[in-house]
Amino acid sequence: MIQNSDLFALSYLVATVLFILGLKGLSSPKTALRGNLLSMVGMGIALVATLLNPQVTTYGWIIAGLSLGALIGIVLAIRIDMKSMPQLVAALHSFVGLSAVLVAAGTFLLHRESGELNGVLLAEIAVGSFIGAITFTGSLIAFGKLQELLSSNPLVFKGQHYLNAFLAVVMFALAAVFVSNQDFTLFLLMTAIALVLGFLLVLPIGGADMPVIVSMLNSYSGWAASATGFTLGNTLLISTGALVGSSGAILSYIMCKAMNRSIFSVVLGGFGGEAAAASGDDSKAKKGVKSASVEDLAFMLENAQKAVIVPGYGMAVAQAQHAIKEVVEVLTQKGVDVKFAIHPVAGRMPGHMNVLLAEADIPYDIVHEMEDINTDFSSTDVVFVIGANDVINPAAKTDKSSPLYGMPILDAYTAKHVFVSKRSMKAGYAGVDNELFYYDNCSLVFGDAKGTCEQLVRALKNA
């Protein structure tokens, strides 16, 4: 005889398996849509099973809440511009965090009403709440920085790390006292400190490190769900949270490696601020660079056999991706082999550039990752760089004093000719001057990326 509770557990198990298969679908763009569908079915099963739980006695609030959330979520998802995807993701992380805090508070109050509190449960509630709270405010700050509501410069002050460490100690102490005396005020106080800690942890992190932070908060939102699962004794939440948590952790690791930064130095913050301030000196920087016209670029491109385009976030800012797509079409018609090279930290979150190119209808099989394409550069005739800077800076390999030193880069400098579309001589996101611009095989094409690409299309068509 199967018990009712086993039936629920079984449906939760099915949901977990569907989530895993859904993530597995993302191993290739061919299977990804189907994978997403599986995840959606998994979520559907989890929702229905939960609604049928005998503990749920009234539906009014729940249906209202689900519908309101669905409405807001769908409108957000449909209207969001692909360029702003990192902001949306950060905002969504904050919602998971806050939701976890509310569930922890609600669970505590419910169990207090029914007098079913015990030490283990209280500890789980405390952990669920503080991870959720840190995720919530941390993601809010990340959102503010990405949306440029806040300065993307790191905010650093003296004694910051001591203050954070002190707050963390106080938070744990409050949690411990809360577990022993079950006082809700202590719970609220602990959560408030966790909220402050979330702010303080992300404020010192500079713009260049944003991809790591977004990934890390992704990870936190998973751990928050897992902790909630422990509170409720629900294995679905525990395992799903662990999947998300490890996913975010892996992405953070990949981003750190791609920038040659340790996760600790990112978390401690302060990168990409001071240097940016020192790089406004145009007159000195202009020395020794070659500039080229769009016509020169068009001529070189159409006579090339192999061309590689290196896009960066600047391309998205200028909204140049659609014009680039036309460039690719014309060149392909002329028999030029065109590929794209993507650095792992191009854009503002992992994989951001791939989405932007896909949005412009650029087929994914000509878009290559750094590892796959780096050996090709030396046999490439023309590299065209649009809106990327730090990721092609050879100083990362040659100049030990450069803040970029040790970061893996796209070896664009080994190509026969490199053209860089630039608006001005301003330094990149990391605030470092680019050595490549002074190389003999490099020419700069000044102008707005979108305008340059549109002119390029015209020049190519007329030729």
Partner: protein
Amino acid sequence: MESMSPTMLGLTVFVLSCFVGYHVVWGVTPALHTPLMAVTNAISAIVVVGAILVAGHAASGTENFSMSLIALVGFFAVVLASINIFGGFVVTNRMLAMFKKKK
């Protein structure tokens, strides 16, 4: 043998799931890392299960002030998680639909 405590069972599931997650996520192609984040976002909204239990359980006792407060807390938790579920899945779908092969 005595059966293990719920916390121990939870810990077992947690650790094994971390390993599953580790292996599955390394298999994700870097080109799809943004959709990966969006979809993990959607599924981390599985906290909706907790939110529903809080809202649905408490709302039955709304004649009592603290119960209606709990119901309200649960309601907000449901709204937030629901934004994530629908927003996360729809935006993932939108992104994935854009990835096309060369014709």
